[in-house]
């Protein structure tokens, strides 16, 4: 039997496969389909202090081997998440979940962390400083190392869970930002969020998305994500959660060789709602094919 367990900031995951924020809701839709306790964990939808409707529709467009979304952080706000979504989730998900936290100011990130601090079901905070779809929002923090470090430092002061900073790929030098977050006290990093992209409707001659631009995700971005994880692995010594375009057990292994100690699956859940289950089921066989007996041992193996 191959070993698939990994550790992420002191918590053991049965396997490195998590579902990515924004594509898995709070798990309910998937729990109807399969027992989602087979997951390493999942990161729930980006949560803000107040309820947000997000951007006008259309919010979704298709691209070659990918998609654009401009959801704009629709979520019920942290209070409702605590009072409704998490109690519901705990009925079917018994593991630690990752709380994806999005904000428009340092104060907001702090406010959300404080509100969630005593929720036992939460294992980690994933601090999303990289949402490209809200104006004046999170991405500004993720594209400037001083701001990224500031958020990290302030959140770290109040957070009672390990904080994983989710980085933006829309930057010149992601290593610099990663290093700044590490120095400021980040317990881990997750990358990548979506690349900024756009589509134009030839019939109307206007941008397809109401928000004009959106975030590109899916298989198309896998090589970009892989390169960034590889580079960041050389720049920091905290654990990295790798994501961006993963859709097979082979991709999981490739991402871990680049340096990820766990991975997230985003867009692929939309194309195929059973993909996380299928990847987890096929992982042992694919590990054997490539001579891997303990998946932990390949983390960063390509360096």
């Amino acid at each position: 039997m191959v070993k698939t367990a990994v550790e992420l900031c002191g918590i053991t995951l049965d396997n490195p496969v998590m579902a990515a924020s924004g594509t898995f809701g709070y798990g309910a839709e998937f729990a109807e389909l399969y027992d989602i306790n087979i997951l390493g964990s999942f990161s729930f939808k980006g949560t803000t202090a107040q309820e947000r409707f997000g951007n006008p529709t259309p919010r979704i467009a298709e691209t070659s081997s990918g998609m654009l979304n401009a959801v704009g952080l629709q979520n019920p706000g942290v209070k409702k998440v605590l009072s409704h979504e998490l109690p519901e989730m705990k009925k079917f998900f018994k593991k630690k979940v990752m709380a994806n936290i999005s904000g428009f100011s340092v104060e907001e990130y702090i406010e959300i962390c404080e509100a969630l601090n005593d929720e036992e079901a939460i294992g980690w905070y994933e601090i999303n400083i990289s949402c490209p779809n809200v104006h004046g929002g999170g991405m500004a923090f993720g594209t400037d190392e001083t701001l990224a470090a500031l958020v990290t430092r302030e959140v770290k002061k109040v957070a009672k869970k390990p904080i994983i900073i989710k980085l933006s790929p829309n930057v010149t030098d992601i290593k610099k930002i990663a290093a700044a977050c590490e120095q400021a006290g980040a317990d881990g990093l997750s990358l990548i969020n979506t690349l900024m992209g756009m589509r134009i409707d030839l019939k109307t001659r206007k941008p397809l998305l109401a928000n004009r631009t959106g975030g590109l995700s899916g298989k198309a971005i896998f090589p970009v994500a892989l390169r960034m994880v590889y580079d960041v692995y050389e720049a920091v010594s905290i654990p990295i959660v790798g994501l961006g375009g993963i859709s097979s057990a082979e991709d999981v292994i490739e991402m871990m060789l680049a340096g990820a100690c766990a991975v997230q699956i985003g867009t692929a859940n939309l194309t195929d709602p059973y993909i996380c289950r299928d990847i987890i089921n096929s992982l042992p066989e694919i590990m054997e094919k490539y001579g891997i007996s303990d998946i932990k041992e390949i983390i960063g193996g390509a360096h």
């Binding site: 839709e29 939808k45 529709t57 979704i60 979304n69 629709q74 298989k219 939309l270 194309t271």
Partner: protein, 244 residues
């Protein structure tokens, strides 16, 4: 919602750019008129959502228009082709609390999801009236099917090439005391119907979808009862909650 592998048992053109595809599986998974399916097409990230216009236990039919790459590929699929389908999506029409003489109004491809509704209402002893609106005669689809369930079907065409010349709202003028409406069509058309009707009813919406089963918030719509997902709480919304 369920994932099922269907095989294509029929796929034929019924009007310019318009096709009917019949799919077979052990269980079709559709329980209510107005529900939709989401079809995976090789090489595409996003599935393609289609309303079901006929169904029984192990088959369902979609009527579709070729508008882009995905539907173009569908139009060339042969009998026997296997498709990965998410079925039983969306809420569908609620037929419990409607009066005995509801009015069914469909525009363009919007006539599709209303057909099984018409069938169900008729079979349950109600007497729906139907208005189907198209741009021109050649775009008319499913008229025979409607006529087989209902003997009060009015067709309108904008160019007058068939039926009554005008829009569905013009046909509404002819009908007195309509007390309940089931409607599907473009948002503009549905809004006109709603404004003209001044009566309760249910309206079926379209939106660009990421997942089609409620997990991505790609398809949200503001309603008087808060934010709802067209793919999950919809696509059918009650007139009382719709914000136009």
């Amino acid at each position: 919602m369920e994932q099922r592998f269907f095989s294509v048992t029929e796929n034929r053109q019924i009007a310019p750019l318009r096709f009917i595809m019949k799919l077979f599986a052990e269980e079709a998974g559709i329980t209510t008129p107005g529900q939709f399916i989401n079809i995976k097409l090789e090489g595409f990230t996003l599935r393609r959502p289609f309303s079901v216009c006929e169904f029984d236990e192990n088959s369902l039919t979609v009527a579709y228009k070729v508008v882009g790459e995905g539907t173009e590929i569908m139009s060339r699929m042969g009998i026997g082709k296997k498709l990965d389908v998410l079925t039983g999506l969306g809420n569908g029409f609620d037929t419990e609390n409607c009066p005995d003489n509801p009015l069914i109004i469909g525009g363009g491809m919007g006539v599709a999801p209303l057909l099984p509704l018409c069938k169900e209402l008729s079979l349950s002893g109600k007497a729906p009236k139907v208005i189907l609106g198209f741009h021109s005669a050649e775009e008319i689809i499913l008229l025979e099917e409607y006529s087989s369930y209902c003997n009060d079907v009015t067709v309108t065409t904008s160019d007058g090439t068939a039926g009554m010349k005008g829009r569905v709202t013009d046909a509404m003028d002819e009908l007195h005391n309509c007390s309940y409406i089931f409607c599907c069509g473009s948002e503009g058309m549905m809004k006109s119907v709603f404004e003209k009707a001044k009566c309760p009813g249910q309206y079926s919406f379209e939106e660009r979808m990421g997942c089609g089963f409620g997990s991505c918030m790609g398809c949200s719509r503001k309603t008087k009862n808060g934010y709802k997902r067209v793919c999950k709480e919809g696509p059918v919304f009650d007139s009382e909650e719709i914000i136009w």
